[in-house]
């Protein structure tokens, strides 16, 4: 099933929610989700079959990943449940180095015979490709961790929450939106559990249980007389959490400008749906923006996507080196710029960190998909480019000898490769709140939530929209705007970063379906920030008359 087909299947319409085929797996019954799965001792003995077979066949390195992926999705529109889907996918992926060359094969026949056969295929592919390999693979050393485990620290396992409770919550949010002026609502709840077992010839046996959740909606208001329609997306973030994210705790709410409620580690879907309906309706008659230069005050659920596209992607080492040239592109952040040690990516207050450990984030795991213990590291410190994102077979290319621990595969049947860790903007050190961002702005716009996004193949020129826009005049919000998009250049934009709210305003944005590679794989990643101001950015008017 293609991504597009799934959207149709879910009845969500284009642009509402995207659901790629890779997460589909095989549909299973509700009670089957609670099956605890394979005992860890059995997984170890199965993984050892792969590792021993590989060694016997002459591999200098091998790793095996046994994965069980249990997902649940609920889709609704207005007062109807469109679909409830449970999926399961189970199998093993084996990666080897033979003759200095990678080989990979996978199978869902997780038996001695099936594993041996797949390992043989992986070795055969490595041998065949080694004939045209110019430079042998060089792996950074990694510690042997022995038998270890890691779990996303969840409070409520989505698999134990009845479907009826999830359906009721979505339908309540839909009803609240409809009652407050929405004409249409599509809502969905995505819940993911990756049970991953990793073993390698370096001596690590790692069992991990990873959970993610994403509640979301699109609320649409319509003015038939004037043939206008406007939508507002949910202000939720996909999180590396359990079902407790849906609790809507008051302690995790923040007051935003123009009466907006914003959410940290707990989401109140019904409250947000009410606000969304009111904002979508208000946007129908909002003032169309006048194009020009504005100071932009960017809310974290909006800024996260800008960070993702203009910092996360350009600092992926495989892009920098040209391995992604035919798909996602290359990068402006070239090695020669990095080597100067004074390339000003942003203004002095800009500190961007890569991270695979942050609690509640989508990227958090104990160990990456090649058995490297995860950590946090600097990408940009005091505005200067300091590092990239690299894995075991890449770090030697930037004269480092320790993998950053950001290797990932979407499934047991895809080969692991370098993927973006969480990349976040550190909060400001000065004690600032959102009002401090706005109060000294003469002509500006406050932008909240995710909207349209587009960036060139080397990550210079970008254009972003949002889901709610408010005009700032002489230090105060004066009303809603429409037809807003800003265009800038990555380095120029980050150097225009003028003021950052402190840690009390910090929260996560997330992307559930970041795509990369050929054949394409998805990955989930978070981007944290506090509300931040960028001065003098070019804003265009996107309104057209046809």
């Amino acid at each position: 099933m293609k991504r597009r087909d799934f959207v149709k299947y879910a009845g969500l319409g284009s642009g509402a929610l995207m659901m790629p085929s890779m997460l589909m797996g095989n549909n299973i019954s509700a009670e089957a989700l609670l099956n605890p799965g394979m005992d860890v001792a059995i997984k170890k003995s199965l993984a050892d079959i792969a590792l021993n077979t590989a060694k016997t066949l002459g591999a200098s390195y091998a790793d095996a990943r046994i994965g069980r992926y249990l997902n649940q999705y609920v889709f609704t529109r207005e007062d109807k449940v469109q679909n409830v889907v449970n999926t399961e996918s189970f199998g093993i992926g084996i990666r080897v180095i033979t003759n200095g060359t990678w080989g990979f094969a996978s199978t869902n026949n997780v038996t001695e015979k099936g594993i041996k056969k797949a390992t043989e295929q992986a070795v055969a592919i490595a041998k065949a490709n080694s004939k045209i390999q110019k430079v042998p693979v060089k792996l950074a050393p990694v510690k042997s961790y022995g038998e270890v485990t890691w779990k996303t620290p969840i409070k409520k396992d989505f698999k134990k929450v009845p479907i009826s409770e999830k359906v009721d919550l979505l339908l309540s949010a839909n009803a609240a939106a409809m009652k407050n002026g929405a004409n249409f609502v599509n809502s969905g709840l995505f819940m993911v559990n990756e049970q991953k077992y990793f073993a390698s010839t370096d001596g690590s046996y790692i069992d991990q249980d990873v959970h993610r959740i994403w509640p979301t909606f699109t609320v649409t208001a319509i003015d038939r007389a004037n043939n206008k329609f406007k939508s507002r997306q949910a202000m939720s973030a996909p999180m590396g959490m359990g079902y407790e994210y849906m609790d809507g705790l008051d302690s995790e709410k923040l007051d935003g400008p123009a009466g907006m409620k914003l959410y940290r580690g707990s989401y109140d879907m019904v409250e947000d749906a009410i606000m969304a309906a009111k904002q979508a309706k208000e946007r129908l008659s909002a003032k169309s923006v006048e194009a020009g230069k504005y100071d932009l005050v960017l809310e974290p659920n909006h800024l996260g996507l800008t960070i993702h596209e203009s910092v996360g992607h350009p600092l992926e080492l495989d892009r920098v080196l040209g391995y992604e040239a035919n798909y996602a592109g290359t990068s402006f952040a070239t090695l020669d710029k990095w080597k100067t040690k004074n390339f000003k990516y942003g203004s002095d207050i800009v500190n961007l960190v890569a991270d695979k450990t942050q609690v509640g984030s989508l990227g958090a795991v104990g160990y990456d998909d090649e058995g490297v213990k995860t950590k946090q590291w600097d990408l940009v410190r005091n505005g200067v480019l300091t590092n990239y994102q690299a894995i075991r077979d890449q770090v030697h290319m930037i004269d480092q000898n320790e993998s950053h621990g950001c290797c990932y595969s979407q499934s047991w049947n895809d080969v692991q490769f370098q993927r973006m860790p969480n990349v976040s903007l550190e909060p400001g050190k000065e004690k600032y709140n959102v009002n401090d961002m706005i109060k000294d702005v003469e002509k500006g716009i406050y932008i909240a939530g995710r909207g349209s996004y587009s960036i060139d193949q080397q990550r210079y020129n970008f254009q972003f929209g949002g889901t709610a826009f408010y005009e700032i005049k002489n230090g105060a919000i004066v009303g809603m705007l429409d037809d807003v998009a800003y265009q800038s250049n990555t380095q120029e934009f980050w150097n225009s970063c003028a003021k950052i709210c402190d840690k009390d305003d910090y929260r996560l944005f997330g992307s559930f379906f970041d795509g990369k590679g050929q054949p394409s794989q998805i990955s989930a990643v978070s981007h944290g920030s506090s509300t931040t101001r960028f001065n003098n950015v070019n804003v265009i008017n996107t309104g057209r008359t046809i």
Partner: protein, 438 residues
């Protein structure tokens, strides 16, 4: 092999149906064998083979339905998957829009299978890669490319007597060529059901030429320009007209196709009268299956005729509600072209820009079908009928509707991503900023 013959597929699905205890049951079955090779930095990076097979069971009790899938087809597995679908159906709330399975249908014989394309070897794929890498290296250019081929079948059966079966072959190739000084980039894309039409070396050379000739691009002011859009440039925008063809969203008032005060733009002229867009599963250049996953027969269907919206797509539910016949969504996109070659179009242009490709296209405003994105891999300035020099890439903000209203000349049709799209000359195309990207 995950490819089942018509008879084999029929037997498996009949067996699965025999286990059903639901009010109705529908089965979709598919399988494919596919291979790929990926290369970058003038060397092969990964290569793989994939074998997939899948069976989807949808069971329903009244308007409660459940879906389950499985990838093993022995009796026990078939029993299990039918049971799971029935369990999920019983747990699910009623969906008032559930339509139930279709009865027997008549389908045209498809032309999607090509024998030579079903037997592509790893050696062939390696040759594709070296057809890019060797000529690139000889010209101080670096190749990064991807070739994927697949051979597959799909089949369908339900408890109302519907049965459908199809086999198809497909191949896709893209390569990006970058000059080693980093100032030039070219790209090409090819896709065929019939692999004998594919010439990897010829395609690669087009990308190499674009890379070499696009070096040291000059910056010109963004603004409104006459553009010659290669099919790879226009297809991304044109396909988005397809996403606006849903009758339901138009009726609901949340589509470009919605009309002021209510109703839809069906029957209205929305673009230049020379624009004709249709879909046709039996077109020999872009064949598709003659039935879709819901079992509906696919026929040649006109969407825009002489600039007028001729049809909108109606799901079975929405068609019933509106009292019309269902109209399935198109399976391909064919736009009528003209006789002009690319050279003719360039020759007839006083001042303009030739665009190889548009990239990272994203919707900005669904109301007007406004999209943004960038030019990439070969953008050239044309003056007095000749290509003068390469220009730096632009960001555009444009609607395919405005673009097709500003049509100057239609050129020859070319297959691109399974569609047939002509070269096009368009006036007043809106570029809003410059990009430093190469």
């Amino acid at each position: 092999m995950a490819i089942y013959t018509k008879e084999e597929a029929k037997q498996i699905m009949e067996k699965a149906l025999s286990f059903s205890t639901a009010d109705a049951c529908e089965i979709n079955m598919s399988g494919s064998e596919s291979g790929n090779i990926r290369y970058a930095r003038n060397t092969v990076s990964t290569a793989g083979h994939r074998s997939n097979q899948n069976l989807v069971v949808q069971s329903n009790f009244g308007k409660k339905s459940g879906t389950a899938t499985i990838d093993e087809f022995d009796d026990e597995s078939l029993k299990k998957v039918v049971k799971r679908a029935e369990e999920l159906a019983k747990l699910s709330p009623e969906n008032p829009e559930f339509m139930g399975p279709l009865g027997p249908q008549t389908y045209d014989k498809s032309i999607t299978y090509n024998k030579a394309s079903a037997n592509i070897s790893p050696e062939y794929r390696a040759t594709v890669a070296s057809s890019s890498i060797e000529p690139a290296a000889a010209k101080d250019v670096t190749a990064a490319g991807f070739f994927n081929d697949s051979y597959g079948f799909s089949a369908m059966m339900n408890s109302n007597g519907l049965f459908a079966y199809n086999q198809s072959t497909d191949s896709n190739f893209t390569v990006t060529m970058r000059t080693n000084d980093g100032t030039g980039s070219g790209w090409v894309s090819r896709d065929f059901n019939d692999i004998s039409k594919f010439d990897a070396a010829k395609a690669s050379n087009i990308a190499i030429d674009k890379a070499v000739t696009s070096r040291e691009a000059k910056a010109i002011e963004p603004g409104k320009y006459t553009v010659i859009l290669e099919p790879a440039a226009s297809v991304g925008l044109l396909q988005n007209i397809g996403s606006a063809l849903s009758a339901r969203t138009a009726d609901e008032g949340r589509s470009f196709m919605s009309k002021e005060g209510g109703g839809t733009k069906l029957g209205e002229k929305i673009v230049d009268e020379r624009v004709n867009i249709w879909s046709d599963p039996l077109n020999p250049d872009v064949p598709t299956s003659t039935w879709n996953g819901a079992g509906q027969a696919l026929k040649k269907m006109s969407w825009i005729e002489n600039g007028v919206v001729k049809n909108l797509a109606y799901s079975r539910y929405w068609a019933e509600k509106k009292g019309v016949d269902p109209v399935p969504f198109p399976s391909n996109f064919i736009m009528q072209g003209g006789d002009a070659s690319l050279e003719d179009l360039i020759k007839g242009t006083k001042k303009g820009i030739l665009v190889t490709r548009l990239w990272y296209i994203r919707n900005v405003d669904p109301q007007t079908l406004l999209y943004t994105g960038l030019t990439r891999d070969g953008t050239f300035y044309i003056e007095n009928g000749k290509i003068k020099h390469p220009v730096k890439n632009f960001r555009f903000n444009e609607s395919p509707i405005i673009m097709l209203n500003n049509l100057e000349t239609l050129g020859k049709q070319v297959r691109i991503n399974g569609n047939l799209v002509p070269y096009m000359k368009v006036r007043d195309f809106t570029f809003t900023s410059l990009s430093d990207a190469v």
